[in-house]
Symmetry: C2
DNA sequence: ACCGACATGTAATTCGTTACATGATTGC
DNA sequence: GCAATCATGTAACGAATTACATGTCGGT
């Protein structure tokens, strides 16, 4: 019968198919895997937990230390996830404020432009390094997760190359 | 004095610094320029128009055919935009449902996986072609907008290359 | 036995999406 | 002069962010 859920809830179900987790752990699991391309805040997770529990798609365990409650997926939950994940995914949604800065670049002080690009270039370089450091292990242990990681690496390289081509960024 | 506005409102102000537009035209202007990397829905535009008008940052003209009302930026509006655009931009936010499909690929029917990737690859190929077709004109007429376009082209190429490397996608 | 960092969750607010309504134009 | 499409906007709903509150552990 498989209830209808939104994408956020469905992705939570997906993680819970692997093992029971608390809200905090779910958040950490997103952050350390697909979080960069599937952004979710902690509050959203807690909200969806309530909804999923109300719909019987997960079960919330007893309260542990610091109000910790572990969520376990139920079989209707599994069923719902399976049918959701097999459906055609929607288009990606991107909001990239730095591109507004460059798009409106003609009215941005030159220094702000350079600062913004330098700062963001550095952040992307850090992410790229982090991704590259994980690749070997992830590829060995979780081939499907490695695809996301490969996407991340390709994406970060592209962004860095783009920064490098900006006229106000020093070459080299 | 420059009021505080959110990023959506600020980007609307940005477009209005160039010329007065109705809500519909603003939407079209986003779509045909930075829309892919700065997603905004029409309804948001109308809401922000109300807020911006209430704050005196824009002025809404008389009603034309089909309730059309042209918005004109005021000098406080310009001031607000200038100070907003000079500030450090936030990180990009991405929600890419297809990456969930691959991330959870081990429980996705092989056919769904192939269908989803094929469909999305085609969409990206179309976008790339469209971008490439625009580049010459945009580069000549609007160098800063061309940077966004170059980003778009690099991004689409990266996505397409990633699709090409997926084990279940036919090579060539 | 205190302080700081980590872990956990909720509530209020803002933002974004979907569904709707309707008025002009255009093409037949 | 009707149907289809384009242009315009609103309202209701659902999703996401921010700000908050609090509890627990680990070190000193």
């Amino acid at each position: 019968m498989s209830s209808r859920v939104n994408a956020t809830a469905a992705s939570i179900l997906g993680l819970l198919t692997r093992k029971p987790m608390s809200g905090w752990e779910l958040h950490a699991a997103f952050e350390s895997s697909i979080g960069q391309f599937w952004s979710i805040t902690r509050s959203q997770i807690y909200r969806e937990i309530r909804t999923l529990a109300a719909g019987g798609l997960i079960e919330v365990g007893a309260t542990g230390p610091r109000e910790r409650r572990v969520c376990t997926i139920t079989s209707p939950g599994c069923e719902t996830f399976r049918s959701w994940i097999a459906a055609m995914p929607g288009d990606e949604l991107i909001r990239f404020p730095l591109l507004l800065t460059t798009f409106f670049g003609d009215v941005v002080p030159r220094e702000s432009l350079r600062d913004a690009c330098t700062e963001h270039r550095d952040r992307h370089a850090e992410r790229l390094a982090a991704y590259e450091g994980q690749l070997a292990v992830v590829a060995a242990e979780a081939p499907f997760a490695a695809l996301t990681l490969e996407f991340g690496i390709a994406y970060e390289r592209t962004v860095l190359a783009w920064f490098g081509g900006l006229p106000w960024m020093a070459p080299g």
